[in-house]
């Protein structure tokens, strides 16, 4: 049994052996926002914050997260109010199929919270671990650049 605080809500779960945090989130807790597109740490679709650090949840063993606070994409908005990254992604056309979107929302909101005024190249570097196959990335960068200038 491990204890996780996910998006502020405490949970007690019993992951199986070497199960990843991603599997625990999805298959045991029904939190389907985090996506599984590679399970190898290559695509960033499963990105979450673990005690404030950005991680690929597919690479973290659930048991190693015992006691941690986890923020998933479901915890990024403030109730009905979208996070500015979410708002900007929708408005700028940064979302097509959306499979990469949860990971990008988590990673980009983390970037803006931790890095003052990132440049375009800083944004690209920070998100280089998030693969998007649909957009060619341009619309996502256009969504984030104005926010970076504000931050």
């Amino acid at each position: 049994m491990i204890r996780l605080t996910i998006n502020g809500v405490p949970h007690v779960v019993d992951p199986m052996g070497p199960e990843s945090l991603l599997t625990t989130l999805r298959d045991r807790l029904g939190l389907f926002g985090s996506k599984n597109a590679c399970e190898q740490g290559e695509c960033g679709s499963c990105s979450v914050l673990l005690d404030g650090r950005l991680v690929c949840s597919c690479l973290v063993m659930a048991v190693d997260a015992d006691g941690a606070a986890v923020t998933t994409v479901e915890g990024i908005a403030d109730g009905e109010t979208l996070h500015r990254v979410q708002e900007a992604m929708v408005n700028a056309g940064g979302v097509q199929c959306g499979f990469c979107t949860p990971g990008i929302v988590v990673a980009a909101s983390h970037l803006l919270a931790t890095t003052p005024s990132p440049t375009e190249t800083d944004i690209r570097e920070a998100l280089a671990g998030n693969i998007c196959r649909c957009t060619g990335y341009g619309a996502i960068v256009r969504a984030l650049e104005p926010l970076a200038a504000e931050s």
């Binding site: 597109a37 199929c97 959306g98 499979f99 979107t101 690209r124 570097e125 280089a128 693969i131 060619g136």
Partner: protein
Amino acid sequence: MTITKTPTVVAGGVGTSPIRPDGIPKVRGEFAYSSDLEVDGMLWGSTVRSPHARARIVSIDVAPALAIRGVAAALTIADVGGRGLFGLIEPDQPVLADGEVRFWGEPVAVVAADDRETARIAATAVVVHYEPLDPLTDPERAEELGETFRVLDITRGDPDARGEVVVEGYYEVGMQDQAQLGTESGLAIPDGSGGVDLHVSTQWLHVDHEQVVASLGLPPEQLRLHLAGIGGAFGAREDISLQIHLCLLALRTGRPVKMVYDRAESFVGHVHRHPARMWFRHEADRDGILRRVEARILLDGGAFASTSPAVLANAAYFAVGPYASESVTVHAAAARTNNPPCGAMRGFGAVQSCFGYEAQMDRLAAALGIDPVELRLRNALDREDRIATTGQVIVGSLPTRRVIEALRALPLPDEAPGDDPRRLPGGTGLTTSRAAVMRGVGFAVGIKNLAFSEAFDDFTEVRAELTADGIRIHTAAAEVGQGLVTVIQQIARTATGISNVEVVWDHTGEIGSAGSTSASRQTQMTGGATLRACEAVAAVALARADAESLDDEGAWRDDQLVMTLADLVAAGPIEHLERFRHPPTTPPDEHGNGDVHAGYAVAAHRAIVDVDPELGLVHVVRVDTAQDVGRVLNPQAVIGQIEGGIMQGVGLAIMEEIVIDRGVMKNASFTDYLLPTFLDAPDMTAVLIEEPDHWGPFGAKGVGEPPTISSTAAVVAAIRNATGRDLNRAPVRPEDIVGL
């Protein structure tokens, strides 16, 4: 009723970029993809796959799998009733291997168990004895042996026509993966009376339905396919993957069954872009006018037909590109080998030949001493010209010249490579000195047909309905991420004046086929059907109210609201079912000529690259484009298709290739199959050329594929320009640049 106002132009109609209705659920992580579905008591399925490219199956023993606690079923071909075969064009692929495996990764058995882990373990417990056979993996050998899915010979004009200047070249394109981010997944739920509901991410619900019922021997009404949330497609979801297996397991166990491929399985679970070997000979007169083009094109179709016959047709019909020539000979073949099956991927055959003919145009320009862009302009096709291969007269728009000129007119940035290593070849791993980085520019133009060709009965059904709240559109068309759902709403708004439009995905039992979400066809096809259905609904509503216009409140005459939408509907249902077809096409005649296509789109790309000549690494700095789009219905969505499509073209140019060694895939993971990242993405500027086409709604053309067709050729041309090397193969590998 005394409300008075002047109805205004509807918000969110055609020509605007309203936010997508699924955008907010997607950014919140609340949008349900097919991999996110679950129901109580469901089982997990898993697939046993062949470890050999070719082998005889001596025996299959499922008993060890069934002995594991929690395993509900382990099935082989012996458990399949019905035809047992599927395939988009020819049903030639067994649902589960039948006596022989023909490619590495071919499904041999399927299991279902209480949880995912147990299902995986059970799959490894199935004992299959194979007797390995020599795989046929060389497509040239396969063609010699007559192992082909289709051979297409095209001749047009005088075969003795000659030009003064002749260039010949041999070119290759590697096998590309769609790498759609959501892997194959679905959930089959038995209905308790012998039928099943399948929720799946697919590009074409009805063709899946046809294949599942035929292969399993089900009465058609016993199967209903429902569209589930789709994480990208790009051709990967046009064929059957797990649809039949899921239904088979659900019907056998009487329990819901879910399957989700992992990435490695996804690589073998869908077809890929055909690798190509191509030879071209171009002859022109001194002015650069093409006098004769000869081409031989060989595609490796892999073990099963999939869409090889149609991909081959595109490669052959577009062997000359968007250029005129009065004398053409093309021999094209799609070989049957024991390599992984190939089929649909964005660009569908047009990508491969474009890589060849555009390299040829550059060679020809060099041989003639003519500017390569100028050479293209001199040969460019336009409305009323004939396609060089088929002889078909172009009746819709084809502004090749305008596209080329618009791209040429874009300023060419002349700044040198920057200082930030993150935007240089090799990124922070750059080892060369910045001064040694070489810059090059390349230009390429591509053409493709829109919608289905060669007399295929291509149609789409849409039902539009007036409700008390607005318009409801029923469709089975797959929204794969491209934004069709938004475009349907926009068209419905503009057609009716009513802004509140809801799109409902009907299952296969409720509405007819929408056709495939492929061939750049849905904006024109489902968009076209939506326009007609909505116009019909609006006409009935206006007649009923004797009114002049509609909006979300109701029907208006002389600035007076004469009936609300609720009143209109209360007086009887107002709806219209439209079955929309594009202009008919013909099969090719014995010379490969004929009116085989319903329309065309053309695009041009200009790439700027920086190359590290020591490590052979490339950074694509810019890819600018001009694209023939007919009419822009949603600027943001068009740009999204262009940027995403160019990125896939860049990937094929410099990094994306499935490596096959004697039939075995060597890089079936995102660690080993490289995909462009945020840092790899070039800057892009797009010019949209609007010259309305003859049958799309408001003159619109599909826009999804042209960005992927000539972008690869442009990037490789730029690398040639930077390095002076011939580079006849995409993707360009570091060793090709270094010259090892």
